[in-house]
C-alpha cells in the first residue's frame, strides 16, 4: 500500500511537473517573441532589413534609404527601454535554467519519513516550497513583463522576499506535493502529535498516514464509550484548515480521493488503510471492505474549501448504510426443524475483530452456563451497574453453516464502544444526524398532518353542503317543470 501511495505521489508529481514545464515553455516562448518584437522595433526598418523585406526588385523604383529614414524613427520609438530588455533577457535565462532543473529532478527528495527529526522535515519542506515559489515568482514576473506592467519601484520590493506564503490557492494546488510518510500502527499518540506539530507550521505539507492494524485503535480509556486519546478522524475539528481524507480501496474512487488529497492547496492528512507485509491483494480488498462495514475504518473527506459551513465540508458518502449506526450481516442457519433460516446480525467492530489475526485473541468461547450472555449491541445500551455479571457476545457463522457465539473481552468491548461513538459523532458533525433537527422534524410532521386533516374535514363538509344544496335545487326545478307541463303555464323567472 505504501507503494500505491507513493505511486500516486509520483503521478501527481508528473502531472504537476508537466504543467510547470508547459508554463515555463509558454513563458519562454512569449518572452522570446517579445524580444524579437523589440529587435524588429529597433532594426526592422534599418536599410538592410527593409531591403530584405521588400525584395530585390524594390530598389529599382524605391529609394530604400529614404524610406528607411521615413519609417525608422517611429518604429524605433516603440523599442523597450534597455533596462526592461535586460530584465526580460535575464528572465528568459532564468526560466530556461529552472525548466532544465525541473526536468531532471529526482523524486525521492519529495517524500520523507515521520521518523526523521521534526526540524529536518520542516527544513526540507521549506526548501521544497521555496523552490516552487521561485518558479511561480518567475512565472508571475513573466506575465507582468509580457504586459509591460512590471514596475521596478513596486515590484522589485514585492518580489524580493517571495516565499511559499505569497502563493495563491490555485498556485498551491499546482505545487508538486511534499509528502511525509507516517505509519500509525502501534502509535499511542506520539506520532499523531508529531503530525499535528508539522502541520502547525502552516506549510502545505501532505502527510500520508498509513495503518494496517486495528490493535490499538484508541481504546485506552477506562470508561466505556469515549476515548480520551485523539482520533485521527476528528482531526478536522482541531485543525479546520487542514484537508483530511480517510480512504482505502473499498472506495470506488479511491485513486481520485488520493489525488484530491495530494493536490489540495493546503496542508493535508491522507489516512489510508494498507495491507500487511505478506497480505494477498484479494484478501486485503475484502478485509478493507469489512473494516469499512464494521465502522472500524469510516471513510470520510473534509475539504475546507468546499463551503463556508463546516457540515457541508465533511463528507461521509463513501460509507455504506449512512442512515444506520451499524450495517448488518445476514447469517444463514437452521432452525430447530432443520429449515434454512436467515438471521440479521449487526456487524460490529467485534465481528470484524474475529477476522483480524491480531485481534482474534480477544474473542473466546462462551462458558457452559450461558445465562449471563447478552448480545453486544444490547450490552452497550446497559448502564455500568446493569452490566455487572453480564458477558457480551456476538454471533458468527461457523464453518458448518451454523452459528456460533463468541464472548468478547473487556478491551474489545471498549474498542467497539469507542468506534460506535466515533461513527455517531461523525454522522453528527457531517450533519446527517442532529437531535435538534430530529425533534423539530417530528413536531413539524405532526403539525402538518394535523393541518391536513383539518383541511380535509373542512372540504368534506363543504362538499356535503353544496351537494345538499344542488339536490334541493334540482328537486325544485323538477317540480316546477312538472307543474308547467301539467298546467301548460310557464312559471315566471325561468330562462
Amino acid at each position: 500500500m505504501k507503494k500505491q501511495v507513493l505511486q500516486s505521489v509520483e503521478d501527481v508529481w508528473r502531472h504537476d511537473g508537466v504543467a510547470l514545464e508547459d508554463a515555463f515553455e509558454e513563458s519562454i516562448r512569449e518572452l522570446t517573441e517579445l524580444v524579437r518584437l523589440d529587435e524588429y522595433h529597433r532594426h526592422g526598418h534599418d536599410r538592410e532589413q527593409l531591403e530584405r523585406a521588400l525584395g530585390p526588385i524594390a530598389a529599382t523604383n524605391m529609394d530604400i534609404g529614404s524610406l528607411s529614414r521615413l519609417l525608422g524613427g517611429s518604429t524605433r520609438s516603440r523599442a523597450m527601454t534597455p533596462a526592461r530588455l535586460h530584465r526580460v533577457e535575464e528572465l528568459i535565462a532564468g526560466l530556461d535554467e529552472m525548466k532544465e532543473a525541473w526536468s531532471t529532478r529526482p523524486l525521492d527528495s519529495v517524500s520523507t519519513e515521520i521518523e526523521n527529526e521534526e526540524r529536518e522535515i520542516l527544513k526540507l519542506a521549506e526548501e521544497h516550497f521555496d523552490r516552487i515559489a521561485g518558479a511561480f515568482r518567475a512565472l508571475r514576473i513573466a506575465q507582468l513583463e509580457l504586459r509591460a506592467k512590471y514596475d521596478p519601484e513596486i515590484h522589485d520590493a514585492a518580489f524580493a522576499d517571495f516565499t511559499w506564503r505569497q502563493l495563491g490557492p490555485a498556485e498551491l494546488r499546482a505545487c508538486p506535493p511534499f509528502v511525509v510518510m507516517a505509519c500509525l500502527d502501534g502509535d499511542r499518540g506520539a506520532r499523531l502529535c508529531k503530525v499535528m506539530s508539522l502541520l502547525q507550521s502552516g506549510m502545505p505539507i501532505k502527510v500520508a498516514a498509513l495503518r494496517s492494524s486495528f490493535r490499538d485503535v484508541h481504546a485506552t480509556s477506562v470508561d466505556a464509550g469515549v476515548a480520551s486519546a485523539m482520533t485521527i478522524e476528528t482531526l478536522p475539528l482541531a485543525m479546520r484548515g487542514v484537508y483530511f481524507v480517510q480512504t482505502c480501496e473499498a472506495a470506488s474512487d479511491f485513486q481520485r480521493q488520493l489525488f484530491e488529497g495530494l493536490t489540495a492547496p493546503r496542508p493535508a492528512v491522507i489516512s489510508v488503510l494498507c495491507e500487511r507485509e505478506d497480505e494477498d491483494r484479494a484478501a486485503f480488498q475484502s478485509r478493507a471492505e469489512r473494516a469499512v462495514h464494521a465502522r472500524a475504518f469510516p471513510m470520510c473527506t473534509y475539504d475546507p474549501d468546499r463551503d463556508s459551513r463546516f457540515v457541508l465540508c465533511f463528507d461521509l458518502s463513501s460509507n455504506p448504510s449512512l442512515d444506520a449506526l451499524l450495517t448488518t450481516d445476514t447469517l444463514l442457519t437452521r432452525d430447530s426443524q432443520g429449515q434454512a433460516v436467515e438471521v440479521e446480525e449487526p456487524y460490529t467492530f467485534a465481528h470484524f475483530a474475529a477476522s483480524e489475526s491480531d485481534l482474534v485473541g480477544e474473542l473466546s468461547d462462551p462458558p457452559a452456563n450461558d445465562g449471563n450472555l447478552v448480545g453486544l449491541t444490547d450490552y452497550l445500551e446497559l448502564t455500568r451497574r446493569q452490566r455487572v455479571g453480564k458477558l457480551p457476545f456476538i454471533s458468527l457463522a461457523d464453518n458448518d453453516g451454523g452459528i456460533v457465539r463468541k464472548v468478547i473481552s473487556t478491551r474489545l468491548t471498549l474498542q467497539c464502544s469507542e468506534r460506535l461513538h466515533l461513527w455517531r459523532t461523525l454522522r453528527e458533525i457531517s450533519g446527517i444526524d442532529n437531535p435538534h433537527v430530529n425533534t423539530t422534524r417530528t413536531t413539524l410532521e405532526k403539525e402538518l398532518r394535523a393541518q391536513q386533516e383539518a383541511q380535509l374535514e373542512t372540504l368534506k363538509q363543504e362538499m356535503e353542503q353544496s351537494a345538499a344544496g344542488r339536490e334541493q335545487a334540482a328537486a325544485t326545478a323538477a317540480i316546477r317543470k312538472l307543474v308547467a307541463h301539467l298546467t301548460g303555464i310557464e312559471p315566471p323567472g325561468e330562462k
Partner: protein, 635 residues
Amino acid sequence: MSGPRPLRLPEHIVEIVSDAGEGAQKAALAFAQLCAKSGNGLWTVEIIPSEIRPPPHTTGSASGNRIRLAERARVTNAGNRANVVLAFNEMALLSRLEAGSLADDVLVLIDDHWATHEDEKYRLSYREVLDEFRSRGATIVEVPLAKETLRHAEDAQQGKNMFAVGILCALYSKDLDLLDDVIRDIFKAKDRRVIELAVRLAAAGHQYGVTHFDRCFEIEAHPSDVAKVAMNGNTALALGAVSAGFEICSMYPITPATSASHALSEIFEDFGGFVHQAEDEIAAIGVALGASYAGKTALTITSGPGMALKTEFQGLAVMTETPLVIVDVQRGGPSTGLPTKIEQSDLLHAIYGAPGDAPKVVIAPSTIEECYYILSIARKIAEEFRMLVIVLSDANLATGQQLFNRPDVSQTPRRPPLDLSPVAPGALPYDWDPTTGLSQRLLPGQPDGMGVTTSLNHDRNGKARYDAESNQRGHAMRSRKLAALQKTLNPPSVHGAPQGDLLLVGWGSTRGAIEEAVDVARSEGLSVSSLHIQFLSPLPPGLLEIFARFRQIITVELNYSDDWNDPLITNENRRYGQLAWILRAATLQDIDCIARVPGRPYMPVEILEEVKRILADRPGVASSAPALAAGKGVH
C-alpha cells in the same frame, strides 16, 4: 542522323493547337520544358477556348499554347506573329489565322487525317483552309499524325500529342534524350505503361521528322547555372503572398483571378494561412478588412467587376486608415465584357473609383517575376502607411508563363509578432505626424488603446466630427501620406537614350512588347525610347524632367481611346487612354496615346509600326488609322 542542315535563328514562335481535350497543352508543356532545359529563354501563353463546352472541330474549340523560344535568356512578351503552327485539325488552324496570330509565311504542320476522312464536310473544309493558307504564302506540311500514332497506340486521341512533341523536337534539332527525361518527369505520377508509350510515341515523332522534313531550325541554347523557375503570374502572386507573410486571403471566384486563389488554397494552410471564399465580393473584402483591423494585414484578389462591388469598402479602408491589399487581375470590360481576355482598363477606377476623396496606392507589376515580389512591397506600404494598396495585374501576366531567376527563399524575412504592448498614456488612434500624415496603428488587445474606429469623419481621437476644420485636416493627412510615399520613390529609368524624338510610356504587362519594339526601332536608327511606370498612385518623381527631353510623349496601353479619325471626334471631346489622361493632368503636357482594346497583348511589331507612322507624321499628333489589331475579331 541524316537530314538537312539546321537554320540558325535567334528566336521562333510556335503555336500548338487542337480541340479541347486532345492534349495540345501537354504537348506544349513538354516542348516548353524541353526548350527550357536546353537553355532557351521562354515565354508561353495559353490559348483558351472562349466558351466552356464549345462543339468540337470548330474555331471556337481551339485550345493550345503559344511558345516563344529564344537564344537570349530573357524573353519578355509573347512576340509577333507565329512562325510555326502545329494543328491537329484545320478549324483549330483557321482560328489562329482569324486571331491574327500567324505570320503570312507560317510553316503549317497539320494532321492529314482529315484529308481522307470519310465525312465529306471535313475533307472539304480541310482543303479550303489549306488553300487559304497557301494563297497567303504559307508552307503546308501534312503529317499523318493520327495514322502514325495508331502504329504504337490503340487510341490516336491519347497519343497524338506526344508524337507531335517528337516532331517539334526534330524540327528544332533538340536532343531526344533530353525530351525523354522531360516526358518521364511530366508523367511521373502515371502508370509505367503510359510513360513508356509516351516516350515511344515521342521517339517515333522525332524519327518521322528527321526522315521526312526538308528543313529544320536551331535556336541556340545556353544552359546557365543560375537556377530558374517558370510559372504564370497568378501562381507568382500566390507564392508571393506566402513569402510576403500574409495569413489570410479572402476572395470570391472571378475570371481571371481565381487561379491565383486556387494556387494559394493548395499550399496556404501549410504556411499558417488560409484562403476564405466569401459569399460575395463585398463580404470578401469585408473579411479582409476585419482581419487587417484586428492586426493581420489581409489580401483579397479579384477582377474588374469585383473591384466595382468592393468600392464602398475601399473607401472605408481609406477613411479608417486600415491597411489592406487588393489585387485586381484586370480583364476586358466594361461590365462582364471579355472575362478571359486581356485589357488594362481599371486604372482610373483603381485610383479614383471610391466616392469622396480617397487617396490610395496603386502599383502595377510589369513582369511575372515582379508578380512574385510585388506583394511584399504592397504589404509593407499598406502597414506602415496605413493605406489601401491596389495591385493591378492582368490576364496577360495571369496566363502567360515566363522563365525567371528562382527567388532566393532564404532571404524571406519572418513576420514580426503582433505588437500588443500597452499604449503610452495619451496616445491617439490617429496621431498624424503633421508633415507626413503617418500615424501608429492601435491594435485590438493593446491595453489603454480602446476606442472606436469609425467610417465617419473624425479627428485624431477617432471621435466623429462634423466641422469644416476637422474635415479639411482629415483629408489633408490622408492625402499627405501619398506625398510622403512619393518622396521615397525613384524616378523611373528610361529604356533607350535619355532624349529623343519619341518617348513611349507604358504600365503593367505591356512592358516587354514596348521595350522590344523600341530595341528594334533603335537598331533601325529611330530616335525612340520608352519609360515604364510601376507606381501609378502616387506617380513617381522626375517625369517632367524626363518628358522635357523628348519631342513627343505617347502612352501605349490596352484600354480604350477615341480615334482621331473617328467621326465627331475633336480636340474638345476626344477621350484618351487612362494613363495618358492621368499624365496629361499631372504634367500639363499634350501627351497622346496608343490605346485600343483588342483583347490580346500588343505585338512588338504592331508597336513598331505605330512608332514609324508617328515619326513620319507631324509630331504632336498620334497616328491616324493605326495598324494595330489587323486580324478579324479577337483571340
